[in-house]
């Protein structure tokens, strides 16, 4: 099982520490939710794990090898990153956009081979986008676009998937579908770290949660352990209602604390 781990991660800007995290990790087979209030540094931490932001201190390692010392194409093959706003510069077809995920696998100036096309087809199927393959990306609804962007990442057959708000601005049915999909992918061996804004969804679908506030990890563990009233009061300043259904615990923000 692959694992992506950050130790003593420190990111500073304007003389301030934005991120100061002793340990943050994601392993194959688990869906990890990165949650916290606005401005906690979730996107920053995620980007650091994707090796997109330089660290002022600490290290980020994939299977014990520093991310920085990996060949960029190997890194790209093993770790996929999906940013929050997936605006495409050109109105390409969905198939072509998803095909971008195969770039780390293609040799210089080479075109896609049958293996690549199969991977693209599989990714489209997994995300339920087969019927969108010929459509131009600028004709997609936001829900469809989120799925297509996810398909792009999946097409590369990565070991680790880093997602920034994959279900923001989606309607409830789509949110449930995507998170179910992510859970399935984790079950197939992918390690997924997703920044999530929606507390109930995070609580229900994630194997593990990392609670981030002011750039520091408040708690890191399974939802059952971590989502205690005290923790939620400190993290979000809220009181929650909770219960159980079908053997799964659900959590619902009830009121804001003074």
């Amino acid at each position: 099982m692959s694992h992506l781990t950050g130790h003593q991660v420190r990111i500073a800007a304007h003389g301030r520490d934005i991120i100061n995290v002793a340990q943050a990790s994601v392993c194959g087979g688990e869906l990890v939710g990165l949650i916290g209030p606005n401005g906690a540094g979730k996107t920053t931490l995620l980007r650091a794990m994707a090796h997109l932001t330089p660290l002022q201190g600490g290290s980020m390692a994939l299977d014990g090898v520093a991310m920085g010392s990996l060949d960029p194409r190997e890194r790209a093959r093993r770790v996929a990153y999906v940013e929050q706003s997936g605006a495409a510069a050109w109105p390409v077809s969905v198939a072509d956009l998803v095909g971008l995920g195969r770039l780390p696998h293609l040799k210089a100036l080479a075109k896609q081979g049958s293996g690549d096309r199969d991977a693209v087809a599989a990714a489209l199927a997994a995300t339920g986008c087969q019927h969108l393959a010929g459509r131009s990306v600028d004709t997609l609804s936001s829900g469809e676009r989120s799925r297509v962007l996810l398909a792009r990442a999946v097409a590369g057959k990565p070991e680790i998937l880093l997602l920034d708000e994959p279900v923001a601005a989606l309607d409830p049915a789509q949110q449930l579908a995507i998170l179910t999909l992510l859970r399935d992918l984790a079950g197939q061996g992918l390690g997924i770290l997703a920044v999530l804004h929606d507390l109930p969804l995070a609580a229900r679908f994630c194997h593990r949660l990392i609670l981030l506030k002011n750039g520091q990890v408040l708690a890191d563990g399974s939802p059952q352990i971590v989502l205690q009233d005290q923790m939620l009061a400190e993290l979000f300043g809220i009181e929650v209602e909770s219960g159980e259904r079908d053997g799964q615990r659900w959590v619902l923000p009830w009121r804001a604390l003074p």
Binding site: R47, V79, G86
Partner: protein
């Protein structure tokens, strides 16, 4: 790809047609004479008409490619060497190199002057785009840069002690393919070949850039390397071209725009297609210029601007309507 074959065939036909154009219009007689081995015919065909056709092909092809590359790099369909001031700065560099006498003492000094001018322009624009990536900002900066380069070019020519220099601003700012020689072709050719190769290597990076810089980086693309390849490639090709033909505008705007739908809007195939596209457009414009001109020869840059400027306006309106 079928479109590629078609465009190259069209380019070939137009090149042959260009070889049949004389000073007063269609004049294939010279070609027949040359093929017969007649000295005058051979001289005119190989020393006058052939360099002209070759330059139209080379300059047009590299302008089309540079337009496609810059549009992919800036993720902006309005970027092209003329509008964003690259051609203007290349002309300024070439003018300084030529009229100061540097180009006479340094081999390849003339195209190098053009290349340096173009490099400076693109570097400036990239630095600006890093701080403010909006389309409008880039275009406004390009307009300012073009105007500045044009004024400095006219100034440099005015300051030249040579009595002919002042009037030649028309050549540098409007471009012309007439009375060029094979020496000019050979002067620019190595820069254009290297520059084009560098730009073609950008294909993959530009594809990845479709989803933004972060996604591209996560796909294993080095943004810095991509920028260097694109910038240096475009500067080499455009700089050398402008140094021998003056600034010819709008080819890099029109060609990628027209061809993009044929390749599903994908940046990489567009690069390859823009070469014959640009070559064909420039050859056609140069043929038209000689057909229409008559006694006074219409500058090529005027012809491309007459087509290109209205096209640019239409494009701007269409894009703003879509954004609204």
């Amino acid at each position: 790809m079928r479109a590629l074959v078609l465009l190259w065939s069209l380019t070939g036909v137009l090149a042959l047609l260009s070889l049949c154009m004389g000073p007063t219009g269609f004049a294939p007689g010279i070609v027949a004479q040359a093929l017969d081995g007649e000295a005058t015919g051979r001289l005119i065909l190989f020393e006058l008409r052939l360099p002209r056709a070759l330059l139209a092909l080379l300059v047009g092809g590299t302008l089309g490619l540079a337009g496609a590359t810059l549009q992919g790099l800036f993720r902006n369909p309005l970027a092209e060497p003329g509008i964003i001031g690259v051609s203007g700065c290349a002309a300024l560099g070439a003018v300084i190199a030529f009229y100061s006498g540097l180009s006479a003492s340094i081999p390849l000094g003339l195209p190098l002057g053009g290349v340096l001018g173009a490099l400076l322009a693109i570097a400036l624009l990239l630095a600006l785009a890093a701080r403010d990536a909006r389309i409008s900002t880039l275009l406004l900066a390009g307009v300012a840069l073009s105007a500045l380069a044009g004024a400095l070019t006219a100034l440099a020519l005015n300051l030249s002690p040579n009595p002919y220099a002042t009037v030649e601003v028309v050549f540098w700012l409007l471009g012309s393919l007439s009375d060029r020689s094979m020496e000019h072709v050979l002067l620019a050719l190595p820069f254009m070949v290297v520059g084009s190769a560098l730009m073609l290597f950008c294909g993959r990076g530009l594809e990845a850039l479709t989803l933004g810089e972060d996604t591209a980086t996560s796909l294993g693309v080095s943004i810095r390397r991509l920028r260097s390849l694109a910038v240096i490639g475009a500067a080499l090709a455009v700089g050398a071209g402008v140094a021998v033909t003056g600034a010819i505008g709008f080819v890099g705007l029109i060609v990628p725009h027209l061809l993009r739908p044929l390749v599903g809007h994908r940046p990489a195939p567009l690069l390859w297609l823009s070469i014959p596209g640009g070559a064909a457009l420039t050859l056609a414009a140069d043929i038209a210029v000689r057909l229409i001109g008559g006694a006074v020869e219409l500058r090529l840059g005027v012809a491309t601007a007459l087509i290109g400027a209205p096209f640019f306006l239409w494009l701007v309106l269409r894009l703003s309507r879509r954004a609204a």
